[in-house]
Symmetry: C2
Subunit: 454 residues, 2 copies
C-alpha cells in the first residue's frame, strides 16, 4: 500500500476546477472542494511522459488484437487501459479491474443516416458495445480501479439506468459492495435487472428521484460511500478514451467535430479534457476539433443558457470571459417528458466543466426536438444499428447544426452513441406499430398475400 | 452479375449432407435436397488457397485494429470477413454487407465462475457483443451478403428472438425486405423491438410457434422467401468465425474443448466444420479439439438420444457407424418450460449435422438442469458479465462434464456465450429479489443503516 499512497500523493492529485485547491486522491471522499464547494478534476504529473511519437507507437502496438490470448496485460485487453499513460499513468497495473471494455467499433454512418443528417462525413463510435451496454464502462473501469487501490468498501449511486449497471458490474468484478437507490414505482424490469444480476443491493425509497439523489449525496458526505456518478472525477479520466480511440482509429488524426448528448455532463467534460491533452502532446498539430453538445427539448438547460447568452451577435469566436458570463446566465430547468430518460436532467452536476470544454473548443450547443431524436433512432435502425434515444439526441442535434451552418459541408464528424438500444426497447417500438400485421388464420397463402409474395 | 453467377456455379456450391447431391447456390431456394430431402452444406473449391502460413499472416495483419479508420475494407472491419478466404472465398468483395460484427472479446473466466465450474483453464467468447446482441450476426452477415449477391428480395423467419433480430438488422443494411412470423400473445416488448426498429414486417398468427414455423416453411417452399433460420447453410459458413477467432486469439492454437449450447444446431455444426477445416489446413497440427454440446433438461433431445445410445459401455472412442446408429435412436421430444427459451427446441433442424460434428470430434453431449443453468448466469453476474440463459446451459453442462471426468483437470476450454443478458432480463431478475430492500422513509440514516454503513 505504501507505493500506492506515494503514487496518489505525489503524482496524481485532485484539483478544484474553480479555486485550484489541491486535494489528495487517496484521502478525499466527499468530492466537493472544501474551500468553494465546486468540483474536482484529476491532474497527473506528465513531466516524465514519453514522446508523443513513442506513445502512439506504444498504443498502436497494444491495439494489435492478434494473439492477445497469451497476454493477461489489461493494457492490451482493454480499449481504455491501452491509453494508461494518458489516463491514470501512475496506478500500479495490479490494481486494474477491467471487463475488457473499450474495444468498440467506429463505423461509417449508413446510407439512411447520411441522407437524413446532411452532407457531412459522418462516423459513429458505438459505445453501447461494452460489457454493460453503455459508455459508462469506459469511465467505470478507471473509477473502480482507483476505488480498489485506495481501499473503498462500498460504492453507490442513485441512477436508475446506465450508471447503476456499470457500478454494479465493476463492483462485482472488484469484490466491492455496491448499492443503488431508486424511487418506488418508477423502475422497469430492465432497469432492475442489471444491478441485481451483478449482486448489488437495490434500495427502494418512498419518494422522487430527487429524494434518492439527496440520500445518495448524504451517504457520500456523511457515511463514507464512494460515489459512482459523475461527481467522481476519476470516471472522467476513463471517458477520455473516447477521444483517444477516435484519434487512433483515424491514424492519429482528429475529426472536425465530435457530437454527443449531454446529461450530467461527464462525457462532454472528458472529451474536452482529452482534446486539450492531445493538442498539447502534439504541440498543437492535433487541434481544432470542436465539441457539439446536444440536449433534448425536455431537458436543455445548458443549450438554452448558451443560446440566451450568445443572442444574435455571435460571430463564431468566443470572447474572453465568456465562461464567467455564461455562469451568470445559467438557470436550472424543470424537465419535461422525453424518451431520452438517461439525459433528463435539469441541473447537470458537471455543467461548469461541460461549458468550459464547449467554449474552449469553439464548439456549440444544440437542442433536439422530441420527434427528431426519435426519428434519428429509427433512421439508424434502417441502417441496421439499434441505438439508444440519447444517441438520437446527438444525431438530431447534429442535423440542426448542419442546417444552421455550424457544421460545414464535407466536414468530418464523429457522433458518440452512448448506449445500446436494447436498454430502451419500449420507446423504440412505439413508432413502428404500423409494421405489425395480425392475421386471422394460419394458411400460408394468407401470410404470403399480406407480405406481397403471392 | 455474370461474374457472380460464374463464382457460385464453379467455385462454391451446395451439397446434400446425406446423399452428396450437388446444387447451385445461385439457383437453390428451397434448401432441401430434391433427392432425399436432407440438409445442404456449402462447399468451396479450396484448391487455389494460399498456404496456411500465408493465411495466418494475412488474418493477423487484418486483425490489427490501429488505423483502420482509413480503410473501408470489410475484411479489416469485420471479425467474420477477416477470414473470408475460409468462409466465402469467391464472393466478390463489393457484395459484402457488414455491420462490423465479430470483433468480440475472448475473456479469461472470472474467479467466481472458475470456482463454480471446477479446475480447468476456462475462457468465454462473448458473442453477445455484436450489433444485434447475439451470435447470429456472425452467420447473418454471410447469409445476407449471399442473398444480396444472388438477388433475393425477401428474407424471413419465424423466430421470436435472436434470429429475427439478426434477419431484420442485416436485411435493413442490405436494403432487402424482411418479415418475421410470431404467435399471438407469446411475444414480449423486447422480442418485438428489434425486428420493428429495423423495419421488418411482423406477422402475428392465431396459432402456436409450430404453426408459425409451418407457414414459414411453406413460404420458402412455395413462395420464394429466403429463410434466415439454420435451414440456410450459408449462415453456417459465417458461424465458423467462432473457431477462427478462438484460434487466432491463442496465437493459432486451439483449446482442448469448445463448449456451447445446442438449440437448432447451427452453431455446433459450424464449429465442427471449422475445426475440420483447420485440421486439414494445418496438416493435422491443429486438431484434437473436442466439442461439448449442451442442452437444457427442458429440451434435450440430442443429449438424451446420445446417452441412450452410449449406455454404460462408452470407452471414450467412437466406433465406425456410430452416426448411423445414433440416427436410429433419435426421438424428437416434447419440450418443457425453461428460462433458456432460445434453445427450447424438441426437433432440431440441424440435428444430423450436430451429431456428426460431436462424434467426429470425439466430443460429448450434456444436459443442464434448470436450476444449474440459472445459477451459471448468476455466477457470471458476480464476475461482472451479464450473459443469456443459453450461455448458462453451456456453463452448467461444462460443469457436469468436468465432474463426470469428460473434461480433465487443467484442460483448456472455451465456452461460447451466445447472447447478451440484456435480451433476457425477466428471468435474470427472478432469483435476485432478496437483494431488493424497500424502506419506509427517505432519511439518509435509514438507508445507511439498511446498507450497514451506519
Amino acid at each position: 500500500m505504501t507505493q500506492k499512497k506515494a503514487f496518489f500523493r505525489g503524482q496524481t492529485w485532485l484539483q478544484c476546477i474553480n479555486c485550484g485547491h489541491k486535494a489528495d486522491l487517496f484521502l478525499e471522499r466527499k468530492f466537493r472542494c472544501p474551500v468553494c464547494n465546486d468540483l474536482f478534476e484529476v491532474q497527473h504529473d506528465f513531466s516524465q511522459l514519453p514522446s508523443f511519437e513513442d506513445l502512439k507507437f506504444l498504443f498502436d502496438s497494444r491495439a494489435n488484437m492478434a494473439g492477445i490470448g497469451n497476454s493477461h496485460d489489461p493494457k492490451r485487453r482493454s480499449g481504455v487501459w491501452r491509453f494508461k499513460e494518458l489516463i491514470m499513468p501512475f496506478l500500479p497495473d495490479d490494481s486494474i479491474i477491467t471487463l475488457g471494455e473499450g474495444n468498440v467499433p467506429i463505423i461509417s454512418a449508413g446510407s439512411h443516416l447520411r441522407e437524413w443528417v446532411g452532407d457531412i462525413d459522418l462516423y459513429i463510435i458505438l459505445e453501447g458495445m461494452t460489457p454493460t451496454g453503455s459508455f459508462k464502462d469506459l469511465g467505470g473501469t478507471v473509477m473502480i480501479s482507483v476505488a480498489k487501490a485506495i481501499g473503498i468498501s462500498a460504492i453507490g449511486c442513485s441512477s436508475t439506468g446506465d450508471t447503476s449497471a456499470m457500478a454494479a458490474a465493476y463492483s462485482a468484478a472488484a469484490g466491492i459492495k455496491c448499492f443503488v437507490i431508486i424511487p418506488e414505482g418508477k423502475v422497469t424490469a430492465v432497469q432492475f435487472a442489471q444491478p441485481l444480476i451483478h449482486g448489488a443491493k437495490v434500495i427502494i425509497l418512498p419518494g422522487s428521484f430527487d429524494d434518492c439523489m439527496k440520500v445518495e449525496e448524504a451517504l457520500v458526505r456523511e457515511f463514507g460511500a464512494f460515489p459512482a456518478n459523475s461527481l467522481n472525477p476519476t470516471r472522467i479520466e476513463g471517458h477520455q478514451a473516447t477521444v483517444f480511440l477516435i484519434a487512433q482509429h483515424f491514424g492519429w488524426k482528429l475529426p472536425n467535430w465530435i457530437a454527443l448528448p449531454v446529461g450530467n455532463g461527464s462525457n462532454c467534460s472528458s472529451v474536452g479534457k482529452a482534446l486539450r491533452l492531445l493538442s498539447e502532446l502534439s504541440s498543437g498539430k492535433m487541434s481544432g476539433t470542436r465539441i457539439l453538445g446536444c440536449q433534448s427539448r425536455a431537458a436543455d438547460p445548458l443549450a438554452e443558457s448558451w443560446r440566451v447568452l450568445m443572442g444574435d451577435n455571435y460571430d463564431g469566436e468566443y470572447y474572453t470571459g465568456f465562461g464567467q458570463a455564461w455562469q451568470e446566465k445559467f438557470r436550472k430547468k424543470k424537465v419535461g417528458e422525453t424518451t431520452a430518460t438517461a439525459a433528463r436532467i435539469g441541473d447537470p452536476v458537471s455543467r461548469v466543466k461541460v461549458m468550459r470544454e464547449i467554449i474552449s473548443s469553439g464548439g456549440a450547443m444544440q437542442t433536439a426536438e422530441e420527434n427528431e431524436l426519435n426519428e434519428a433512432v429509427a433512421v439508424c435502425g434502417m441502417d441496421g444499428y439499434f441505438v439508444c434515444p440519447q444517441t438520437g439526441i446527438a444525431l438530431a442535434g447534429l442535423r440542426s447544426a448542419v442546417r444552421e451552418g455550424w457544421i460545414k459541408k464535407g466536414e468530418t464528424v464523429v457522433a458518440v452513441s452512448t448506449a445500446s438500444g436494447l436498454k430502451f426497447t419500449e420507446s423504440a417500438v412505439r413508432d413502428s406499430v404500423k409494421n405489425v400485421i395480425s392475421l386471422n388464420d394460419c394458411k400460408p397463402e394468407t401470410t404470403a398475400k399480406a407480405l406481397g409474395l403471392a
